[in-house]
């Protein structure tokens, strides 16, 4: 908001990344070995407490290191910035900043783990900020690869000196120019670069190599570490000198590692170390300390600045920072004081730094926005603007100082914000620091300060926008007071924030969330920005108890009052005119007579007198009673029916599902959905079992025993009975129970392994047809339907197709039979919910066609084992059966003239271009609607949309659910970017991409996603951000998380599968995501990670979440991770015994049973609270999440790591930092 942009110094980051990456690698792989070594040396003291802690400490350290990094980052930026001319300018501007940065560098060294502390006393503050930068840079390492080129050039100048220099060497040439600017800032430092330049050539090669390695695979990681370490050591000492050799070495090694980062890292050795320090690498950093010694000398020479320069280009920047630091100190002394501690907790500081830069760069824009932002601004701004640009950036943190020193006009505007931001930022940072065990470590690290300085150059992950930070800020800012929907174009709180909604004329965000709350007025703008215009609609969303459910409006026999032309329903957007005798439609402007029985006088404002008595005139959401005209065949519907179709083939019997389902249904049938809790449900039930033939059951109340009717003519399915098949539970209870008791017995000895599937759905469909009602089928299925029957499938699992152009066929159904069947189901209002219990490939892509076309759900329990999976299945089943659901629904979205709903995503069927037909629509189902301009919108009227869903309620009433939504329209792109919601955009992107894989090669889908995202950001950069160095990554405040989230989408199993992801899983996830609402998609792509060791048993609040990165995990901690589908409990190897005792009832790590699926109910507050938390988390999700206990270093950890989405993934997914750098590169390409 306030700060629209997030600046990132990508280049720096790159550099940083390089360094960090190596470290990263080490942490994961060898961490221990390497670390141990390192820890002992440097951290040893600090971390000493526990071996593992030490490691963690490193992590923390990293944090701190990163913080220090910032300065480096700042440096980096300059480098990058440098290349571009603008950069130079920036620098000039930043000069101060640089100065500030300069200090940081100073600090940076110290900042590194140990340093920070030491610094605290003196330039502690400075270090703090610097560190943050460093960290940011650290993060970038990933990007390093991509960045390398840019970076190279950038860095060359500055970096050259340091190991990076070599790597960048080639770039150096270009950098050279850049360096020039830098030189100005920190000549001394540059000198080293020059040296570097000499070396560069070789380095370059190395540098390049690294990137590749990154892409390649992580495995190398371990090696990297080793290498890294050595390299570091070597490089560390004398970067200039050693660099060449080191870098070479490092590169070779590094490449494998992953990362070229290492190569770069090597380049940066010094900085790298520092980065590493933070992470596992921290240790490495420690080693450096020794180097530092060498460095120190260097440092000493150019004290802070020098050291920085020596370190790398970054160094160069750092220097500026250095100067800045001082500013900071001077400027925000208080802050500085604050910082010291922060220093300990690098993350925050980094932010400030980040913000700072942005401020500078954006100055103007910021200023404009600034004011409003100011209040909130600080934090936001910081996050948003990640100043890749360095110098300036670093200063950023220094904002305070900026305000002071920078004195720039623009700056002033910002300053306040910045200052504020900083303050705030710092606040949050502390928090972060808190979470990270690291801080304490940092304390220790101080010892290494010397080394730290060297390290600073890395890109600090903490310096790039943090989802957690954004979430927390939103909670803090918007969670406290109710969100009223009366104001048009107001973006609601994030899905992660708990808030209350007051319906004042627009639909609650629980029903509708938009990607943009300020739409472009015309299509040119829309095209230019590439921001998708979409709404995510969840028509029957459940509301919390403290919110009023939609009122039911009855307009009598004539039915709901509607616009004559566009048929929009009466809503607050209808303008009454002529004294209330007519109304003008807000959507199409047509004037319609008010029916006499609806007439009401208007008051002096032109509002109807009864406006507030009528929900349809004052509310965003409400229900209409309908007349028989709204019913199929002009006949009021029958109450719906539920039919349970149970696979009783050998597999199903053997894995226990038959018994479980039957047992559960006995009780579950008492909880069928009903509208009035006091009345019995009207829903009738029926039962079918099947293998390769179908068994229908007559459970008529008058029978003493149920009767089974076998239909073997699966080629031509029909329903053998009517009366007695669908019955009321209360009337036939005895017979039904008898049946459910006998089914498992009857098939206990079955030898039948073949199953059919198409006829099963046909059977249910025919039954509903025969009963002339809508309904829902619950199919419990176990295997690929290979028996001779319509819809027979063959096993086509062929992983060789993955990654080829034919990959899309894997997502397409293998026969068209099910599409036809789905169409018939929709026509009848037959919704299909599919529960799968496969032991092998079942072709979810094909089996899922009917569920996903009928508004149904698919549940998949691979390798189902009763003891461990029963709970999950039963809870899903219970919820699925009990949840509110509407049948035979048709949804139509009407909009203002000017835009049009053009595309729809979700589980439904469309027979024309406007009507979304859902055989069943339950409270979890979401439809995403994309809008396109077909004309111009006006800023005055904004854009209106009305979503009308006609459905049959579970009691058989035909109703209309209306949701109205109005958003603003803008003629300035800036307004658009100020009112976007990234979570919703991601929801849209994910659904769009997941659908695209059906028709395009996955790679193209990924590329186009990246491309669109880059265009969005480039457009912003070009049109909304103040001119600045091209090396500066500027993100709109509202979208600062777009890259990280997008990266999560890109590396999801559907778009980038790992080797162990089955085709079924991919198809399953693909279909699953298509119906997710924003909250679900958010947590699905960016899992929620809670550090339990921080859990305050006394408080109701949850500990603040941790970012999804392995480096955030402490070996001494226990973490809870959930993504809407799974819950993991990650236990660090050296978790405190007390913690383990509290949770598992055993103090020994080794005694924890990794197979447990529920925690023991121990009588201690911690255990109770933890289980409460797990329960409450589960309650929030539409599917029950099975708990998996993951012990660190256990085999299962691989799975767990898969969800640490900020890290590089096994499947080749980039880390956040890498991706950010890549994104930056893309943007730059677009801009140039």
């Amino acid at each position: 908001m306030e700060n629209e942009h997030v600046y990132l110094q990508v280049r720096d980051e790159l550099r940083m990344n390089v360094n960090q990456q190596p470290h990263m690698a080490t942490p994961y792989g060898q961490p221990q070995p390497g670390y141990q070594g390192y820890p002992q040396p440097g951290y040893g003291g600090d971390h000493v407490p526990s071996g593992y802690p030490a490691q963690y400490a490193p992590y923390n350290g990293p944090g701190s290191a990163y913080q220090q990094g910032p300065p480096q980052g700042t440096r980096g930026p300059p480098t990058s910035g440098a290349p571009p001319v603008s950069g130079a300018q920036n620098y000039s501007q930043f000069g101060q900043g640089e100065n500030q940065n300069g200090p940081p560098p100073m600090g940076a060294p110290p900042q590194r783990p140990p340093v920070s502390q030491p610094y605290t006393p003196g330039a502690v503050n400075l270090p703090g900020p610097q560190h943050p930068y460093g960290q940011r840079f650290g993060a970038p390492p990933v990007s390093m690869q991509h960045m390398t080129n840019q970076m190279a050039s950038m860095q060359v100048g500055s970096t050259a000196p340091s190991p990076a220099g070599p790597g960048y060497a080639p770039p150096s040439v270009s950098q050279a120019a850049v360096s020039a600017p830098y030189t100005t800032s920190a000549p001394p430092t540059f000198t080293p670069p020059t040296t570097a330049t000499s070396q560069p050539p070789p380095t370059e090669a190395l540098a390049q190599a690294p990137p590749h390695s990154y892409y390649g695979a992580l495995p190398p990681v371990q090696q990297p570490f080793q290498n890294a370490v050595p390299t570091f050591s070597s490089a560390g000492p004398t970067q200039p000198q050693a660099p060449p050799p080191v870098s070479p070495q490092s590169f070779p090694q590094a490449p494998p590692i992953s990362q070229p980062p290492f190569s770069t890292a090597q380049v940066h050795p010094g900085p790298t170390q520092s980065y590493r320090g933070p992470l596992p690498s921290t240790q490495s950093s420690f080693p450096r300390p020794p180097h530092p010694t060498s460095q120190p000398s260097a440092f000493p020479a150019g004290p802070p600045p020098t050291s920085i320069p020596s370190q790398l280009p970054g160094v160069m920047q750092p220097q500026p920072p250095v100067s800045q630091p001082s500013p900071y100190h001077s400027g925000p002394p208080t802050t500085s004081t604050g910082f010291p501690p922060q220093v300990g907790a690098p993350p925050r500081p980094s932010f400030p730094g980040m913000q700072g830069p942005p401020m500078a760069s954006q100055g103007p824009p910021m200023a404009s926005q600034g004011p409003p932002m100011a209040s909130q601004g600080p934090p936001m701004a910081q996050a948003n603007h990640i100043l890749p640009t360095q110098p300036g950036m670093p200063p950023g943190p220094i904002n305070a100082s900026l305000s002071g020193p920078p004195p720039q006009p623009g700056m002033q505007g910002y300053p306040p914000q910045q200052n504020g931001a900083f303050g705030q930022v710092r606040g949050p940072q502390p928090g972060y620091t808190g979470p990270y065990p690291g801080q304490p470590n940092y304390g220790a690290p101080p010892a290494a300060p010397a080394s730290a300085p060297a390290a600073p150059k890395r890109l600090d992950p903490d310096s790039i926008p943090s989802p957690i930070q954004v979430i927390e800020d939103d909670k803090a800012n918007k969670g406290s007071e109710p969100f009223t929907t009366g104001v048009r174009g107001q973006a609601p709180p994030l899905v992660t924030t708990k808030f209350q909604v007051k319906d004042q004329g627009n639909a609650s965000p629980r029903y509708i969330r938009c990607t943009a709350y300020n739409m472009p007025c015309n299509s040119d703008m829309a095209k230019q920005s590439q921001v998708p215009l979409a709404a995510v609609i969840k028509p029957l969303a459940p509301l919390p108890p403290d919110e009023t459910p939609p009122y039911l409006v009855d307009h009598g026999e004539s039915g709901p009052i509607r616009c004559n032309r566009c048929k929009a329903y009466m809503c607050p957007y209808m303008q009454f005119i002529e004294g209330g005798r007519r109304f003008q439609c807000g959507f199409c402007n047509c004037v319609t007579e008010v029916p006499p029985n609806y007439f009401q006088h208007l008051d002096h404002t032109g509002k109807r007198v009864d406006c507030y008595d009528r929900p349809e005139l004052s509310m965003g959401s409400y229900d209409f009673m309908t007349t028989v005209d709204y019913c199929k065949n002009n006949k009021f519907p029958q109450p719906p029916a539920f039919i349970f179709l149970i696979d009783v083939s050998y597999n199903a019997v053997k894995n226990g599902t038959v018994g479980i389902v039957c047992q559960e249904l006995k009780t579950l049938l008492d909880y069928l959905p009903r509208e009035n809790p006091d009345v019995e449900s009207n829903i009738r039930v029926g039962f079918v079992t099947y293998n390769k033939v179908l068994h229908f059951y007559n459970v008529k109340a008058s029978l003493a025993q149920p009767q089974m009717m076998v239909v073997s003519d699966v080629a031509d399915m029909f329903v053998p009975l009517l009366d007695g098949f669908l019955v009321s539970v209360s009337e036939s209870r005895v017979v039904i129970e008898s049946l459910l008791d006998q089914i498992p017995e009857m098939f206990a000895d079955t030898r039948e392994t073949e199953t059919v599937f198409g006829p099963v759905i046909q059977a249910g469909l025919e039954a509903l047809k025969a009963a002339d009602c809508a309904g829902k089928l619950f199919v419990f299925h176990s295997s690929l339907p290979i028996a001779e029957a319509p819809g027979k499938l063959k096993n086509r699992e062929d992983k060789k197709l993955v990654g080829t152009d034919k990959e899309k066929t894997l997502f397409q159904p293998q026969v068209s039979f099910y599409n036809t069947l789905a169409k018939e189901c929709v026509a009848q209002g037959c919704c299909v919910d599919l529960f799968l219990f496969p032991n092998q490939y079942v072709d979810v892509a094909t089996l899922g066609v009917v569920p996903t076309s009928t508004g149904g759900s698919i549940y998949k329990y691979t390798y189902f084992q009763a003891p461990s999976d029963q709970e999950r299945f039963l809870n899903d089943l219970r919820r699925d059966v009990q949840k509110q659901v509407g049948f035979d629904a048709v949804m139509r979205v009407r909009t203002s003239t000017g835009i049009r709903a053009t595309d729809f995503f979700g589980a439904f069927y469309m027979s024309n271009t406007t009507d979304v037909e859902l055989a069943g629509l339950d409270c979890d189902k979401t439809v995403t609607v994309e809008f396109r301009h077909d004309d111009k919108l006006s800023e005055e009227t904004g854009a209106l949309m009305q979503c009308a869903v006609l459905y049959t309620s579970c009691s058989g009433q035909r109703r209309l659910r209306i949701h109205n939504m109005a958003v603003n329209c803008c003629s300035q792109l800036a307004d658009l970017y100020r009112n976007c919601e990234t979570d919703t955009i991601i929801n849209f992107f994910a659904k769009y991409a997941y659908r695209s894989v059906l028709s395009s090669p996955t790679k193209n889908v990924r590329d186009s996603l990246v491309n669109q995202c880059a265009q969005i950001l480039a457009c912003y950069r070009k049109n909304c951000a103040s001119p600045s160095s091209a090396g500066q990554l500027i993100l709109p405040e509202c979208m600062k998380l777009l890259p990280v989230y997008l990266n999560c989408v890109l590396k999801s199993d559907v778009l980038q599968p790992g080797a162990d992801v089955s085709l079924d899983d991919r198809a399953y996830l693909r279909q699953l995501v298509s119906t997710m609402d924003v909250a679900e998609s958010h947590v699905f792509f960016y899992p929620h990670l809670l550090p339990l060791q921080k859990l305050d048993v006394e408080s109701m609040a949850l500990p603040m979440a941790v970012r999804d990165s392995e480096e955030r995990l402490s070996r001494g901690g226990v973490y809870l991770l959930e993504n809407g589908l799974n819950i993991f409990l990650w236990v660090g190897v050296s978790a405190q015994q007390e913690l383990l005792q509290n949770i598992f009832g055993t103090p020994a790590f080794s005694q924890i049973d990794p197979n447990m699926t529920s925690l023991p109910a121990l009588d201690n507050p911690f255990s109770k609270r933890l289980r409460e938390i797990i329960e409450s988390v589960r309650a929030q999700r539409s599917r029950y999440m099975k708990l998996m206990v993951v012990k660190q270093e256990d085999k299962l950890e691989l799975i767990f790591k898969h969800f640490l989405v900020e890290d590089k993934s096994n499947s080749g997914g980039a880390s956040y930092v890498d991706f950010l750098c890549h994104m930056h590169k893309e943007i730059r390409q677009l801009l140039s």
Binding site: Q705, M708, M709, V710, S712, F718, D723, Q742, M746
Partner: protein, 740 residues
Amino acid sequence: MATYQEFIQQNEDRDGVRCSWNLWPSSRLEATRLVVPVSCLYTPLKERPDLPPVQYEPVLCSRANCKAVLNPLCQVDFRAKIWACNFCFQRNSFPPSYAGISEVNQPAELMPQFSTIEYIVQRGPPTPLIFLYVVDTCLEEEDLQALKESLQMSLSLLPPNALVGLITFGRIIQVHELSCEGIAKSFVFRGTKELTPKQIQEMLGLMKPATSGQQGKPLAPHDAAASCRFLQPVEAVDMNLTDLLGELQRDPWPVPQGKRPLRSTGIALSIAIGLLEGTFPNTGARVMLFTGGPPTQGPGMVVGDELKTPIRSWHDIQKDNARHLKKATKYYEALANRAAVNGHSVDIYACALDQTGLLEIKCLSNLTGGHIVMGDSFNTSLFKQTFQRVFSKDYNGEFRMAFGGTLEVKTSRELKVSGAIGPCVSLNTKGPCVSDNEMGVGGTCQWKICSLTPATTLALYFEVVNQHNAPVPQGGRGAIQFVTQYQHSNTQRRIRVTTIARNWADAQSQIQHIESSFDQEASAVLMARLGVFKAESEEGPDVLRWLDRQLIRLFMFHLRRSPFLQVFNNSPDESSYYRHHFVRQDLTQSLIMIQPILYSYSFYGPPEPVLLDSSSILPDRILLMDTFFQLVIYHGETIAQWRKAGYQEMAEYENFKQLLQAPLDDAQEILQTRFPMPRYIDTEHGGSQARFLLSKVNPSQTHNNLYAWGQESGAPILTDDVSLQVFMDHLKKLAVSSSA
């Protein structure tokens, strides 16, 4: 020798054979001139309490195309232990087991009194009888209830080891599995889709579809595991099945206004036959169809489900307006042939006020020897008792039913067999004694009779092939041998052999003898069968014309008026029903059908048979008429008034009470033995039911003739039908004028 009357009676008692001529004309030409062909009625399983079966195999002629059975007519050389076949003159030596044979130690089959003899033979393992109930559930509640009770009752009548199965149908068809405990299980088929036998068997799980090599081959019957689910020994599933029948619901599918219930009779039968075919081919089995209406959907449908479209009438058929008729008939004929091939018979119990499609379905019973019973409702004693009587037992306590019969006919060289009429199908066995000239089911010397009762009687027609002027055949006698192999109800395989011989007579020299050997009754029935057979297979009017031409010299007034040939006033179903029974009943019953018997009861003497004439209808008489299908007791006007006045209750009118009781007792006697149970009607002068009587009697007095109109004697019949008198007058005229 005794009179022909006695001779005929004697032969009938011993062999169950009645010939139209008991002396056979010795040449083809003469035989043709006799109009009534050389033919006979043969009752293969005529009850012979005095004939104990022998426990060994028959001895056969060794000539491959003869294989006649050793019989009393064969010449035997006891010393050489050689016998000469009397049909082909082949000389055969006795088998070793006959080593001890001598003139004083003759095997039974050589003794003249054993011209009919029964052998018990060993042919594979005994197989239990099979009863498969195919039950229509589209019945009124009351009917269904009654039917369920009858079915439950029938379980107690079945032999304990008999296998029983249940198929119910309505809109869909359910094949009930009888072995399972707890949940009643059934396999369901839709009533509109025709399935091949193989598909049916697959769907019922009767064969493993994947088994190669034995592809298409049904599982061997002894594979009980597969079949037993549907066919279970009565003793094992008695309770189960009783419960199942008890819970049988009416077809649950709603029948909209103006529609008939959807009844999938065609598919139900196809499944029943397919099931037996797959499990017990060539084993005695009865499919018993109980239906309460016409098939209305799927293959074999007789009428659509629209009530506004009435079921076909004779009128429609004549106008070629019965759109389903041909298709349905063809369908059921195909089914019938499949059933016949496997030796399974199909009974039809059709109880409904309207037609049930017997016309189309009848072939199932006609070709397989099954019963057809037609009634108004399952809730009538007619059905209940008839059904019970299906399971009646003989003097040995054995069921009066036999299965899987094959009748083979062998003749002397001068004779050839032209065909048979009765509940049989041709086995298409060519042989030297098969005539080219077909009468009835011909072109074969073997027929399959899937189900037999002791009363089952076939009409067999022969052709004399001896050329004119040829000498009277050697030996002077012509011989016919009937060899009937069947499965006795106690599961034994048996062979009954009847060998008859008649003298040849030269028509020119011995015409009087031939005339006197004429069996008027047998001839009447034989000719009537021919008529019915033709009526069934040809257009109505042509048959009557043919009959008139053929029978102009016979007194067949009643036959011509009978429902067998006259379809007026009868629905197609009724005609089918009557004809069905006519072609299978023995001579006595057949005669009753042709010319109903009328007894008169009065105070003037013992009951006496009276002319079937309207003049017999008098006020002070009680009449008892037996038409085979109906039993009518008619109280004359006076008697009715007396009865109404209640005189029979008064002690002083005890005699009147006895008079009233006498016909009841006699009727009861008839009811006891008759199968199917006749419709029993107790009516009186002026009663609406009196029409049954009035329609049968010779309308000697009508509203428009001069005789006795308005007189006291007899009752006038309001009809335009010609009376016997007119018929005779006309006949006389024709006889004189005709040059034939």
